[in-house]
């Protein structure tokens, strides 16, 4: 691999990290409250709103059914409306975020549902409001699960970000296709794959480390 490819690889890595970080952040901002609501709004639950729950559930399922590559292309007009262009890393963040929100919402919902019903009952018996129960009981107790869920989402976003090259999204995946495949430079393809493997490993390890730090459910995790 010639030395002049190194800067290109570096730049593409930064683009991928940028797209994944921003879309993971925005996806969490949208997915966390949505997930909490989905987990607490069935009939008889804290924020009992069965019809809203059903409709939101359908919307989330629909969003998750659309293959990502189709989502990217289908929402081009919306992307242009939001960021003014449909090309580049900023434009890629729009479909990445739209894919992340329902995915993260389901992961958060699952983590919240794992919290023992007895804890909610204890908090209700203390006279807690539904919002207090969510803030002081459900989210802190579900935090290890939420952290692992966000890790999974970030890893998936790294994969998705490789597809946004289709709309000029740049990043590592785009580089691999354009240089490695279209220009017959298998060493670029190999480098891209290795970098992606390293990135996924780093994200996964970081996520597991944080999850272990916040998990107080077993004595072995005593951190002091």
């Amino acid at each position: 691999m010639s030395a002049n490819l190194i800067p290109i690889l570096w730049e593409s890595t930064l683009q991928t990290l940028y797209m994944v970080a921003i879309s993971a952040l925005l996806g969490t901002l949208g997915g966390l409250p949505l997930g909490v609501f989905l987990a607490t709004s069935q009939r008889g639950e804290l924020l009992s709103a069965p019809w809203v729950n059903k409709v939101l559930g359908l919307v989330v399922n629909a969003a998750r059914s659309v293959p990502f590559i189709i989502l990217v292309v289908a929402i081009i007009p919306f992307t242009r409306l939001v960021v003014g262009t449909s090309i580049g890393t900023n434009a890629a963040i729009v479909p990445l975020t739209l894919a992340a929100v329902p995915f993260i919402a389901r992961l958060v919902e699952n983590a919240i549902r794992e919290v023992e019903a007895g804890l909610i009952e204890a908090a209700r018996a203390m006279g807690a409001t539904p919002m207090q129960i969510i803030r002081k009981v459900l989210i802190p107790e579900a935090l290890p699960g939420i952290t692992l869920g966000l890790t999974l989402a970030a890893v998936s976003l790294i994969g998705y970000s490789a597809m946004v090259g289709a709309v000029g999204g740049q990043g590592l995946g785009d580089l691999g296709i354009r240089y490695g495949y279209q220009r017959f430079m298998p060493e670029v393809m190999l480098a891209v794959v290795v970098i992606l493997i390293v990135l996924v490993q780093l994200v996964q390890s970081l996520g597991e480390w944080i999850a272990a730090r916040v998990d107080r459910r077993a004595a072995r995790n005593r951190g002091h």
Binding site: G127, V137, V214, A219
Partner: protein, 353 residues
Amino acid sequence: MTGTPPANAAIIFDKLGKSFAKAGSGQVMALQDVSLTVPTGSITGIIGRSGAGKSTLLRMVNGLERPTEGHVQVVGRDVGAARGSDLRAIRRDVGMIFQHFNLLASRTVWGNIALPLEIAGTPSGQIKARVDQLIDQVGLTAHRDRYPAEMSGGQKQRVGIARALATSPKVLLSDEATSALDPETTQTVLELLSQINRDLGLTILLITHEMAVLRDIASHMAVIEGGRIVESGPTYDVFAKPTHATTRSFLSGVTGATLPAFVAARMTTNRPDGPAQEVIRVTFAGQHATDPMLAMLATELGIAANILAGAIEEVGPHPFGNLLLSIDAPRAAEARAYLEQHGLTTEVLGYVR
């Protein structure tokens, strides 16, 4: 208990009923026509088998369940009718402890006890002082920064008790609080509850399936069966003169008076022809529990009684005994009359040859 003037009552259940809609087929009555008064400052225990409705009844007191009929009053306020902030205000006056503790795994001992105060909006300076005091009160000062996963069941229940006391409630509800603990730990937790009851004058309503818990700490008790209260009163009276079969069956587990298998197997309900022994249960209550009644039976009437099983123990502050005897059948009626005259209760269980 029923008939106590309401001014003296911490909790009043008035003709309470609760039915649940059952999926597909109509309704299930969890509670029916339950009327019970819990005296202020008492430790009142409700005993019943699983599914008898005791858990539902307990949850009516802090509005975790709502009655479908009747009323529940806690320190003068109607819980069933309260909504929103009124209901939350009542809940801060009613502490609750649980069989499985229900502590937050994400919070330390200190943080768990602080939770109800945070929920009540107590200023942080006051929270600090109050939590430190509570940790001291339940003897967990050395464990304040530990997480529940690092503690034993007994320690966790102490945290649960401190947490329940944080907002200085007037009533403490205990949902099978010792059922997940070993016998020794159970004793220490029951002693702590008794001590809190004495020191703070706090009314405690507990549910259990263990008669020993009632024997050890309850001043008043009720027996629930199939969603109805079948017997209630001061614990000592119920132990001494149980009237319902369910109560007797619970009692047989704690009073040490079960027939040995070899006698039970040969026993018949009707007196057989020929020589036979009558098997009776004698319940000793109050001062008579310590009188040497069997010796007096022998010296005064010349009747010898065989002791088959028995135990003398304490129910609250009173001695309480239960003896199973066999007496020569022709003279058994005479013996029973003599024992009854001296304030004991007798019951014929059957006959053996």
